[in-house]
Amino acid sequence: MIPRLSLLTGLFLITFAARAATLQVQDAHVPEGPPVAPVLAGYLTLVNPGEKTVRIVGASSDQFEAVEIHEMRMKDGVMTMKPVPALAIPAGGKVSLAPGGLHLMLIRPRKAFRAGDTIRVTLKLDDGSTLAANLPVKGDDDHAHHRH
């Protein structure tokens, strides 16, 4: 009885671990902004080593009033921005949220963030599970130049 139970528990844990590891987070960061900035941009790369496409269908953070995924596009020198309702990370592929493209729109911070702080974001996946991502706030000197 006891070995069977632990076997079941083991199987359950393996399954759970496999589900939780569907996506890997890399290069997560938030550039420090003015303390009065009503919004900040969060950047990260999502890697999907699995065999199924994973969709991000929502995001939240207890440090912000709302979190959305937005996409910027350059049209004739005009920058346009649109919310992305679902972001698909293809099986075996990755999607980068990076300056000038996709970003996490972190709306109305509940406090001002400084370089060295960490912003915690929860991503909602289409299978109902969640993924926690920690985004360190980085100062201007942490990354020398930006071309966008």
């Binding site: 303390p35 009065v36 920058m79 649109k82 970003h103």
Partner: protein, 242 residues
């Protein structure tokens, strides 16, 4: 700021109308205008070659600006006169802008760190961040926002009609998406070029993305060399020649 809200009420178009307007602007005005800017410097008779790798479009004939009256974040007025006596770099955006505007201001900060204009020199170049979103960007918020990046940067905004006179003359496009009465979350689409205005208060060049802080410095150096630094007699407090 109360009058800003009142003045912009008639301009709260439906998103579709704004998009249609933006589309028309692109087709009828923006595309042709930007194309002409890009082609002019390369025209055989233009003779204005820009440094390699710099997305800088230089006007063969500097363009005079119409009269407009906006407001600086410290409450002083911002007119063509505010642009005279020194070179100027302008960026148009809004503080609810997560990505492009903070990065543009960061690039300007890099440029200013390299250029190191002496704050006491009245002929030092000026950087202006013009908000096209006066309903949300109060002068107070703008001031705190821009001076975070550099104490010598100035935020500018004002009534929509006055903003439109200025942006229209410079070929800067912007439009709102999902902007409705009482709604605080809406997107502002806007041109992301840097505009250079000469010490006579005339539009002289446009730097198109992608650019970084080094590009801004190179553009300023090129323009100063090509068209001259501000004349001594134009400055309010001329420095003794060195």
């Amino acid at each position: 700021m109360g009058d800003n809200g009142a003045m912009s009420n008639p301009r709260r178009h439906s998103p579709a109308a704004v998009l249609a307007l933006l589309g028309l602007l692109f087709i009828g005005f923006g595309a042709g205008y930007l194309l002409s800017l890009r082609q002019n410097p390369e025209a055989p008779d233009a003779g204005i070659a820009v440094p390699a790798g710099l997305n800088l479009a230089v006007l063969t004939d500097a363009r005079s600006l119409p009269a407009f009256r906006l407001q600086r974040h410290d409450g002083r007025s911002f007119t063509v006169d505010s642009l005279r006596g020194h070179w100027n770099v302008l960026f148009f955006g809004y503080t609810h802008c997560p990505d492009v505007c903070p990065m543009a201001l960061q690039n300007l900060r890099h440029a200013w760190r390299q250029w190191q204009p002496a704050p006491s020199n009245p002929r030092r170049p000026r950087a202006w961040f013009v908000s096209v979103d006066p309903d949300r960007d109060t002068p107070e918020l703008l001031g705190k926002y821009v001076t975070y990046f550099h104490p010598d940067f100035t935020g500018v905004t004002g009534p929509v009609d006055e903003i439109d006179k200025f942006t229209g003359a410079l070929g800067i496009l912007y439009g709102f998406e999902d902007k409705d009465e009482g709604k605080d979350d809406y997107i502002v689409n806007h041109s992301s070029q840097m505009v250079f205005i000469d010490p006579q208060g005339r539009m002289r060049a446009v730097l198109s993305p992608p650019y970084d802080g080094d590009d801004i410095v190179r553009a300023l150096q090129f323009l100063e060399t090509r068209f001259g630094p501000p004349a001594n007699n134009r400055s309010p407090k001329p420095e003794s020649p060195t």
